[in-house]
Symmetry: C2
Subunit: 184 residues, 2 copies
Amino acid sequence: MTNVLVPFTTGVEEIEMVAVVDLLRRADVMVCMASLDGQPVTGRSGICINADAALADVAGQGWDMVVLPGGLPNAHLLRDDANVKAVVQRLRAERKSIAAICAAPTALAAYGITENRRVTSYPACQPEMEALQPSSVYVDEAVVEDEFLITSRGPGTAIAFALRLIARLCGEQQVAEIKVSIVA
Amino acid sequence: MTNVLVPFTTGVEEIEMVAVVDLLRRADVMVCMASLDGQPVTGRSGICINADAALADVAGQGWDMVVLPGGLPNAHLLRDDANVKAVVQRLRAERKSIAAICAAPTALAAYGITENRRVTSYPACQPEMEALQPSSVYVDEAVVEDEFLITSRGPGTAIAFALRLIARLCGEQQVAEIKVSIVA
């Protein structure tokens, strides 16, 4: 079974969170929604979503991919969390996939993960992305892939982002089937 | 303030639910997520979302629009709920807007709301839509509008659907601003 970790906390962008989890689960990927304290999370639009686990309790497990959703302050709180940083750096060392959308790619930039990589983010975050990692190449595309790294821009690109994650984990045939099932 | 009621229950399609609520709230519309019993709801992909209210406690309030999200058994449970039927029929009598996506347009068809109307739904529901209301005209488009009625097809059309609801409630300028803010 393929296992994906999605850390999230207060102010998460609900569409970004839900599109990733919903579509990966449709592809039979095991997804763990891990809030920083294990408690339910209220997103930036006031929608309260339960967590499957507390991040500290599951961060050390084996993960094929970690996905950071956006929304504020979620993206900043994830960036500053020691467990998020540790699991991202461990997956990098293990050559696993690392993904982030909207404001969350700034956390990856802060960790050094985007150095020399093609990246995107929420448009307003471009100056921060470039200041944190001047060697990264910022691209104005809905989803940008560079080896282990997948980044995307906002709620309007969340479904395209989730489909690229499925392509990487499960292949293009699975993407084609999911697209039919969701009328995309 | 514009007020929108979104009834939901077990098996709701999470992207459809969250896209509507998130984007309407970005447009400063007051949205009430009303579960049938007021308790949190676990959707078709296992994501548990809190409710703002129990439907019975708020159905009698003044609403500018009711939106039925899809997913099963959610759409069937909504169809068979007396409060959902009553609020839809009252809004119809008040000439307010009525919207549904995915499997939920079948509830509107069962209530007679789609009679003589252009409609769409999740593709697999087309035979049921036509059997329930032979006078309706089924259209293969992402979002179909006919006077008071707005219908749509699935998770992949949920953002387009939510944007058409915003257009109706808040105007095209608001849609343009939301599209920029979500990178759509």
